[in-house]
């Protein structure tokens, strides 16, 4: 290893791990000791990353308060040093961290709230794509519908959470007191996407969630309706399927349709 490479290793270890070996290679300034000057880098490292987390998780920050959020943030920084040149992706692993580490794992709403914020951030700058309009479906012959396959907008993402984190999110966003965190009996099935430039989410019922998941797997509309028939009144399955589809199209959730002649 070259001297230059060794110095960089020492410098980085001094910032990440508190190792003082690098102090032997740097100078006091005319006004200040090297420990203090090197401390500027040590302090900036953690505080810059926690600041980035505050920006990406504004509502988790509001929920926890400054002190607890910063303590949590520094614990995450220590556990997950950044490996990506862009800070945008730094808190990608935060939901998993909160789920796996005490005391945060004791309150599962934290992990769900972080996951929801990550999903909304991902929708915000997801790839652009055309948006399917109702007019694109209007000219299709009735017999073509059974074979239709739908392509979701690249910003669309499904997230299942165990808690009432979405209700907590909505309350915090409205600057209201959030409800007590609870683990729900049924998972909360969320659909997150970007409508024009605005990230959105809404909760899906079990039937619509199933249809969305299967539609985005490439299952054609006719089969989707047969699947819906197993959930509720078989005679109303096609109408329910068409209703869900109408909602997806008007929300900008689909990019294209194929397969219908």
């Amino acid at each position: 290893m070259s001297d230059f490479a060794r110095q960089q290793s020492d410098f980085q270890r001094g910032i990440l791990g508190g190792d003082n070996a690098v102090l032997a290679e740097i100078l006091d300034s005319p006004r200040e000791k090297r420990e203090t000057l090197f401390g500027v880098y040590r302090h900036a490292y953690g505080s810059r990353l926690v600041e980035a987390m505050r920006n990406d998780h504004k509502l988790l920050h509001a929920y926890l308060g400054d002190e607890t959020f910063d303590e949590m943030g520094h614990a995450y920084v220590a556990a997950h040093p950044s490996q990506h040149p862009n800070l945008r992706w730094f808190s990608k692993a935060l939901p998993d961290f909160l789920r796996a580490n005490e005391p945060y794992s004791d309150d599962p709403v934290l992990s769900d709230l972080a996951a929801l914020e990550n999903a909304l951030n991902d929708a915000f700058d997801a790839e652009d794509a055309p948006v399917l309009a109702l007019a694109d479906l209007a000219g299709l012959a009735p017999e073509a519908w059974a074979d239709l396959k739908f392509r979701p907008h690249p910003s669309a993402h499904r997230l299942d959470i165990a808690t009432n984190a979405s209700a907590v999110w909505l309350a915090l966003k409205g600057e209201e007191t959030p409800p007590d965190a609870v683990v729900r009996e049924e998972p909360c099935r969320l659909l997150i996407w970007r409508q024009d430039v605005t990230p959105m989410f809404r909760e899906l019922g079990p039937e619509e969630a199933m249809m969305w998941d299967e539609a985005t797997n490439g299952i054609p509309f006719g089969v989707l309706c047969a699947m819906l028939a197993t959930y509720d009144d078989p005679d109303g399955a096609a109408a329910r399927g068409a209703g869900y589809l109408h909602g997806w199209v008007t929300a900008g959730l689909l990019t294209s349709v194929s397969g219908g002649k």
Binding site: E25, Q83, P85
Partner: protein, 302 residues
């Protein structure tokens, strides 16, 4: 092939399929760092700002509103790209995925130039997201010259590198920072972004005269000035970019204009972002001072 080693003398040194800019980036006037807080006002009011500098990483994204806004800004104003993660002085292998992203963004933006900092941001697969200092040794110089040449070959253009604010100096340095920058620019063909505030900060922190730094930089290699604010801690200054430009830095700007002449200048505010009007006052001051210090530009003919 080494584009940079032949830069700027021979445009023919460029690969045929990559458009090379003219020898020296143009004078753009007086600009501002583009920040999301000002998007709406800029797009609705078209403020009289000559050009914008954008943080490259803020737009190295799959899509969405940031890139849409950027496209609209690029239709109206000259734009330059300024990165923080090139890590040109790192001894770790370059991150080619990052370079690909930078090249893709440059293709979309068609910037007047692409800049980053003379620093490193991490080794061993980690990124510290800071502009870390280097020893000014011949070993480091050889290393950085090679890296700059590689990056310039990859991007198909000469890059611009900025002096960073530093808080420590290494005891094995063999030259000054300004000697290092001058030699780096001469050998690699990169241009220099002279951050007036950073010179002031580093000079205070290390106890030298900022004018010595300024006079040690070759006058013909500087293509951009940054003007920014900082936080004074008494025994040292931290480059926070969250305050207005201080009077000492304005004084140093006058000296920089006298040495370097007409150089594209911008106000760089990274934190504690004020309303656009407030930054326009500073932009207008850069313009006014330049008009007082420098002879008017005459349009070239023939």
């Amino acid at each position: 092939m080494n584009v940079a080693g032949k830069w700027p003398n021979s445009a023919a040194a460029a690969p045929a399929d990559i458009a090379m800019p003219p020898a020296k980036p143009p004078f753009l006037g007086f600009g501002l760092g583009l920040r999301a807080q000002h998007y709406d006002e800029i797009l609705t009011a078209n403020p009289p700002i000559d050009w914008f500098e954008v943080i490259s990483e803020n737009y190295m994204l799959p899509g969405g509103q940031p890139l849409r806004v950027l496209d609209r800004i690029c239709e109206r104003y000259p734009v330059v790209m300024h990165g923080v993660s090139l890590s040109i002085a790192s001894t770790a292998p370059p991150n080619f995925e990052y370079l690909q992203g930078l090249r893709d963004l440059a293709k979309r933006v068609q910037p007047k130039w692409v800049s980053d900092h003379l620093c490193w941001t991490g080794v061993h697969g980690k990124n510290l997201h800071d502009l870390l200092p280097i020893p000014y040794t011949n070993e480091a110089l050889d290393h950085v010259v090679n890296r700059v040449q590689l990056v310039q070959d990859y991007l198909g253009r000469a890059i611009v590198l900025e002096n960073v604010s530093t808080y420590v100096q290494f005891n094995n340095s063999e030259m000054t920072e300004w000697e290092f920058l001058s030699e780096l620019s001469r050998r690699s063909g990169c241009w220099l972004l002279f951050d007036v505030n950073n010179v002031y900060v580093s000079a205070f922190n290390h106890g030298y005269d900022p004018h010595t730094f300024l006079n040690g930089i070759p006058a013909d290699r500087v293509v951009q000035f940054h003007m920014a604010g900082h936080s004074h801690m008494g025994t040292h200054i931290i480059d926070t970019h969250d305050h207005p430009v201080c009077e000492d830095v304005w004084d140093l700007y006058v000296a920089a204009l006298r040495r370097f002449g007409h150089v594209s200048t911008m106000i760089e505010r990274d934190d504690n972002i004020p309303p656009l009007d407030e930054l326009m006052v500073e932009v207008n001051r850069t313009r006014k001072i330049a008009a007082e210090v420098l002879p008017p530009l005459t349009r070239k003919t023939g």
